[in-house]
Symmetry: C2
Subunit: 319 residues, 2 copies
C-alpha cells in the first residue's frame, strides 16, 4: 500500500497583526499559498519524490514577491541582497545548501545542485555562484530580487537603526513596531511522498538591514532545515541565530529518536520551550513518516498551509 502524500509549506512567521493585515492582503497570501499547495500536491500525486515536491514549492515561493526569498528578498545594510537556501533528502540524509548569493535566480535549485553533486554540503558567496553557473542554473542581475516594498522596509529599518526580521514588528522589545506587515521572512516546504520518503527545503533573503555576510539558520542543516525518513522533515522560520544555537530542526528529530516523543510533542517543545528560553521567536513546519503535520509558532502568526492526499488544501495566517 502506498503512502498518502502530504505537503506543507510556510512563508514566514512573526508579528502579523490581524487588525493590520487588510482583507485584501490576507486574501493575496491565502491565494498564493493555495496555488503552491495545489501544484506541489499534484506533483506528489503524480508520483514525484518528496525532494522534487519541496523544491517545486520553494521555487514557487521564491518567485512570489510576497515572500522574503528569491524575487522579493529583503535588502542588507549595504542595499544588496544575500540569499540562502538548503534542501535535505530524508531517504539518505543527503543535503545541499548555498549562502550569501545574489545572482542565482532560484537559490533552492542551487542548493539541490550542491546536494546532487555530492562533494560538499554548503557553498557560500562567489564560490557558490561559480558552482551554479557551471551547472547551468539561471543567473540574474542582483536587481532582479529587488522590489519597491522591500526598499521601503530598508529605509524604515535604517532610519530606526535596526536589523529587522522581515514582518516582525517586535524584533527588538525596545523599539516600536516598524511595519504591521513585517514577519520573519523565510519560506520552506516539507513533504511525504507516495514511497514514504521525506524531504525538507528552506530559502530566505534573511533580515532587512542585516550585516553583509550574515548567515542565518535557513541554509544550515540541523538548524533551519532537516529531514530523516525515520523521524521527520522540518523547515524553520524565525530569529535564525537562536535556531542555530538550539540546533532546532535536528532537535525535533532527536527528541523523536531518543526521547520517544511524537512529532507534535517534539515540535511543540522546540518552538514553545527551547527557543523561547534563549529568546528565540518563530515557528516551523514538520511532517513525520506517518503523515502527521505539525506547524507550531510562538509569534502572532505564520503564513502556512498543507495538503494531504486529495483533500482540499488548508491555509492559515493566524492561530
Amino acid at each position: 500500500m502506498r503512502t498518502t502524500p502530504v505537503i506543507a509549506i510556510h512563508g514566514g512567521a512573526g508579528t502579523i497583526s490581524a487588525a493590520a493585515l487588510s482583507a485584501g492582503a490576507a486574501q493575496a497570501y491565502h491565494e498564493a499559498l493555495h496555488a503552491i499547495l495545489h501544484a506541489a500536491r499534484a506533483s506528489l500525486l503524480g508520483g514525484a519524490s518528496a525532494l522534487d515536491a519541496v523544491c517545486l514549492a520553494v521555487e514557487m515561493l521564491e518567485d512570489c514577491p510576497l515572500f522574503n526569498a528569491g524575487h522579493g528578498a529583503v535588502f542588507t545594510h549595504a542595499g544588496t541582497h544575500e540569499l540562502d537556501a538548503a534542501v535535505m533528502n530524508g531517504a539518505d540524509l543527503r543535503a545541499g545548501a548555498i549562502a550569501c548569493v545574489s545572482r542565482i535566480r532560484r537559490p533552492v535549485r542551487a542548493a539541490r545542485a550542491v546536494m546532487e553533486d555530492g562533494a560538499h554540503v554548503l557553498l557560500a558567496g562567489a564560490g557558490a555562484e561559480a558552482f551554479a553557473r557551471e551547472r547551468g542554473l539561471e543567473m540574474v542581475e542582483p536587481s532582479y530580487f529587488s522590489t519597491e516594498a522591500r526598499r521601503a522596509q530598508l529605509a524604515q529599518a535604517q532610519g530606526a537603526g535596526r536589523v529587522v526580521l522581515d514582518h516582525d514588528g517586535a524584533a527588538s522589545a525596545a523599539a516600536a513596531p516598524l511595519d504591521e506587515g513585517r514577519k520573519f521572512g523565510t519560506v520552506g516546504a516539507v513533504a511525504l511522498d507516495l514511497q514514504g520518503h521525506l524531504a525538507a527545503a528552506t530559502s530566505t533573503g534573511g533580515m532587512t538591514n542585516k550585516r553583509v555576510g550574515r548567515v542565518g539558520d535557513s541554509p544550515l542543516i540541523g538548524a533551519g532545515t532537516y529531514a530523516d525518513d525515520k523521524r521527520a522533515a522540518v523547515s524553520c522560520t524565525g530569529s535564525g541565530e537562536m535556531f542555530i544555537r538550539a540546533a532546532a530542526a535536528y532537535d525535533v528529530c532527536a527528541r523523536m529518536r531518543y526521547a520517544g516523543q511524537s512529532l507534535a510533542q517534539a515540535a511543540q517543545a522546540v518552538v514553545m520551550q527551547t527557543l523561547p528560553s534563549i529568546g528565540g521567536s518563530g515557528g516551523l513546519i514538520a511532517i513525520d513518516r506517518n503523515g502527521n503535520v505539525c506547524m507550531p509558532f510562538n509569534t502572532d502568526g505564520m503564513y502556512r498551509g498543507h495538503a494531504r492526499g486529495t483533500e482540499a488544501p488548508q491555509t492559515a495566517i493566524h492561530r
Copy 2:
C-alpha cells in the same frame, strides 16, 4: 567546592600511519600539543573561564604551522586560503563563527568577537572580514597563512585531481594514499573550568584543493562545534560534510539529554556508528560537566591530548 578544570585539544584526525610518521615528526606534534595543554591548563587553574581557555588553546594551534588552521592552513583549488572557526559558551548557549575568511590572523578570535557582539552567530567572507577589522582584530595578508609544505600538498592533490582532507590518505577509497602525513585538518579545544562551565572552539583551513566557498562542519554550530553546560562541550574533526548531515556535535548532547547516555556512550555512538553509516571519517573530543573526557576517532589516528587539574598532560596520536 570548585570543579577540577580539564582541557582537551585536537589537531586533526585521519590516516596517520605509525610506520610513516617519523620519530622526529611525532615528537614535534607531541611537544606542540604539550605546550598548548600546559598553557591552557595554567590559564584554567588561574581562574580563566572555559571560554578563555578554549580560545587560548585554539589560537596557539592556529599559530602552529603543524596544524591546518591559521598559519599552516591548506590551499583551496584556486591556491587561496579560506579559514573557518567557531566558538560556543556552554553557560548560556551563546555562539559565534566565521567562514571563508583569508585575512584574519586568528580566526577563532573573530568567531569569539561575533559571539560577544551578539547580533549574529555566523558571518561569512568579506562581511566577516569587515566585521573583524571594525573590531580591531589583527589582519594579515593572505600569504601569512601559506607554508611550503601545504603548497606541495596542493600540487600533489591537483596532480591527482582530488579534493583532499588534510592528512588523510584514504579520503577516496579509489585513490592511493597521497601523503603519509595527511590528516583531516582541523584543530579544536573543549574545556571545563573551575566554575563548572563548559566551552568548545574549532578552527580549520578546510580541505586541500577544496572548491572556493566550501564551508565544512567546523564553523557550523551543532555540526562541528557545540557546548551546553548541562551536557557536554564537543569539537569535531573529519569529513565535514558527513558531520553536518549527522549534526554530529549536537547529537552527542542530544543522546545524553534525551536517551540518558553517558558522554562515552554518546560520543562513541556518533563516531563509531552514525558517522560510518553515511561514510563519515574522523573523530571528536568531548568533555562533560563532571570532567569526563572522551576522544573517539574512526581513523588511524588523531592528534590529541588532555590535562586534568594539576596532573601531567597526556598526548597521543594513535590508539
